[in-house]
Symmetry: C2
Subunit: 201 residues, 2 copies
DNA sequence: TGTAGTCATACCAGTTTTGAAGTCAAGCCA
DNA sequence: TGGCTTGACTTCAAAACTGGTATGACTACA
């Protein structure tokens, strides 16, 4: 898919896009996101500033790839889960596995540098969170499909939102795994048991 | 509280602030947030653009009052709830009551115009959501206090985040009440019963 | 007298607009 | 088959606009 032969035009466009993205990412990692201007990026990629915005709607978008893949994985985690597995268990497993993959990072330190950059740049953290949350409808729809519903119920919508929030909650902290597990604990069994247990001292 | 006699200086400052805010709000409602520039606002309020930013850190802040009150109400809903009421029930009641107060709007249509403005302006929706979510730590702390904990557990943090999300989820739709109730249904009893019921057809 | 509020001015960076120039894909005609 | 026309796409320079910051002066108040 997506491997149809590209014409010269398409290829050139893709090359320009990549040149901009590569130049920018390098400079961002070295000097920090806010310390690199669009005009500098354009200069480094040898294009005009206008061209940068012809490819990327915002400065933040320059370093993020399409998120269709993420969305597909999320939906697939629900749709293609093993028989007998609950949706929550499937999503929880997906989060934990994604976490593992980041930890045993194949790509060496590149990914680490990249994530540090995002971590220390509020504008990028926000943008990434926003991208992630855009999957909410897709996730809710996927869940609705599992139950043969035309449209997600309000409960499903709420659940989808909560599930996505768990991920954001987790990436912001050190003990990522513990946060994911706590999030799903609350989300699966509800708050009532937590409150009951805490009340019992 | 806050009613100590103000000196001339303080009064003038407050007057300037109000002049800016009033002028801006009017123009925003009439022409839309994005169609009014800071320079225009300054002109209309008869101050310099610099002065606008001496009072408000961002353009979005011009039309929002302090949110300390909101936070206090939220915390109070937990802290001062009737004996025997669960935290969830208290927060749910608080949301529903706040909704009622908006519906039986004393201030006539002004509030409606104001909320429409926010509704149709992404930058303002985001800003309002961000303001609201800043209460997360305060809410989590308040809940921790209820259980005599020094610091909120991960479950409490997750719960606090979910609860605040319910509000955002609800304000974005027509059937606000139904969304609030669905949100708390999922949050209180958990997702498991929802999935079980949906699975049973 | 000192300080807080205001100001004019200049500036920066992201983003949009404009209108033009160059490049390519595709059909058309010889 | 080869060249030409056409229209769409990509890039461009240049300028403008906007939110926001920095500077240093001025003024009214405490």
């Amino acid at each position: 898919m997506g491997t149809e032969p590209m014409g010269r035009r398409e290829r050139k466009k893709a090359a320009t896009r990549k040149a901009i993205s590569d130049a920018a990412t390098l400079m961002f990692i070295e000097r920090g996101f806010d310390e690199v201007s669009i005009r500098e990026i354009a200069e480094a990629a040898d294009v005009s500033p206008t061209t940068v915005f012809a490819h990327f709607a915002q400065k933040e978008a320059i370093i993020f790839d399409e998120d269709d893949e993420q969305r597909e994985q999320l939906v697939s985690a629900v749709r293609d889960r093993p028989r007998g597995t609950t949706i929550s268990a499937a999503l929880r497993a997906y989060y934990l596995q994604a976490l593992l993959e980041v930890e045993h990072d194949h790509d060496g330190e590149n990914l680490q540098l990249f994530m540090d950059l995002i971590d220390r740049t509020p504008a990028l953290r926000d943008y990434a969170a926003r991208m992630w949350l855009r999957h909410e409808d897709a996730l809710a729809d996927a869940i609705a499909v599992e139950f043969h519903l035309d449209t997600p119920s309000e409960e499903i919508r709420a659940y989808a939102r909560f599930v996505l929030q768990i991920q954001l909650l987790a990436t912001g902290t050190r003990n990522t795994r513990a946060v994911i597990e706590a999030g799903f604990r609350v989300l699966d069994a509800g708050w009532a048991p937590v409150e009951a247990e805490l009340s019992a001292r």
